[in-house]
Symmetry: C2
Subunit: 206 residues, 2 copies
């Protein structure tokens, strides 16, 4: 176990875990080292500073979540709206276990560092909005397919879905209970269904 040469990855994984639970500022370098089973020497061998690690951790997060969502089953349905709804279902289904396990690293960090660490904030933003952007093609396809020409854009709905999720995580942290988060995701799903189902939104209505 704990082979040499993988300390860097283990530090990054540890950082994700610890920062997601404690937050960024409250996380000490030694907490991450302890979680990774590594010493400070190793930490500062791989990273110039704590902030440097944070940047790397966000990059690592983007890479991990990118793969995770790319391979998730929600892309299967043939219908684009079904894919979108399957995405929402999938997001709901992974709200499971410990808070740190389903919560978003970059959303958590953004709150703490948006004023003080512009570079880090931009990296967090790239993660959130990059992920949101992956939803746009399906939203746009669904709009075309259903003949809808609304006063909102695919991009704004994609961003809104991320807002709902981020907000749901906050409520979950406030209560210590996943239920309230799932509930909000249900509302998001209902919203999307209504957006595409409502006769008032259809081009072809009388």
């Amino acid at each position: 176990m704990a082979a040499r040469h993988d300390s860097k990855t283990r530090l990054l994984d540890a950082a994700l875990k610890v920062v997601r639970t404690r937050g960024y500022n409250a996380t000490r370098v030694e907490d991450i080292c302890a979680e990774a089973g590594v010493t400070k020497g190793s930490f500062f061998h791989h990273f110039k500073s704590k902030d440097d690690l944070a940047l790397a951790a966000v990059a690592h997060w983007i890479e991990m979540t990118g793969g995770f969502f790319a391979e998730a089953p929600y892309h299967a349905p043939a219908d684009p709206l079904d894919r979108l709804l399957a995405y929402v279902d999938f997001r709901k289904s992974i709200i499971e276990g410990d808070i740190a396990e389903f919560t978003c690293l970059v959303g958590t960090m953004t709150q703490e560092i948006h004023e003080s660490h512009p570079a880090l904030r931009d990296a967090c933003a790239a993660s959130i909005f990059g992920h949101a952007a992956t939803l746009e093609p399906d939203i746009e396809a669904a709009m075309r397919q259903r003949g809808i020409a609304p006063d909102w854009t695919p991009a704004s709905l994609a961003r809104h879905s991320q807002a709902v999720l981020q907000g749901a995580f906050i409520l979950a942290k406030a209560t210590g209970d996943r239920t309230v988060a799932r509930e909000s995701v249900d509302h998001l799903k209902r919203y999307i269904e209504l957006l595409f189902a409502s006769p008032f939104a259809r081009k072809d209505r009388p």
Copy 2:
């Protein structure tokens, strides 16, 4: 100026301002003192510790926001659904100015302290869910008046609205731009309109 005897209030006001911008952990006691134009001695005369101040600041926040929303104009409309939609409009209209000015103190703090300070977390939760609860009567009245019997509860929609707002604030912090936040509030409003307008949700549909 800066009469004696109001240091405590000035410290609380300063705490709201500084914590909303920097976050809780990154805020030093001396930052709050400087903002309040008061010294450390005064701080620790009024508060046992930084955590003690945090608790008092949340209580102060609950009191301030309680009065602010109670006196806001959105209660004017006679129709309960109109009141609810006016609330959403109002929330959108106050997303203005500096990020710290429209952002939520307790949402920010929750993220940082939910694991480490249970008492503080409960106080934050009380603020969020207490505010959400003020929306329930109007939601319920609107449901009755429009003859809607949906599969969601007034409480859950009230909580969802808070989730959207909290999430919108995160996106605003990530981009440094209010626009994304307002956009999400627009989606929330559209959702509520659809919920009450959709024939699929009506009791009296064929």
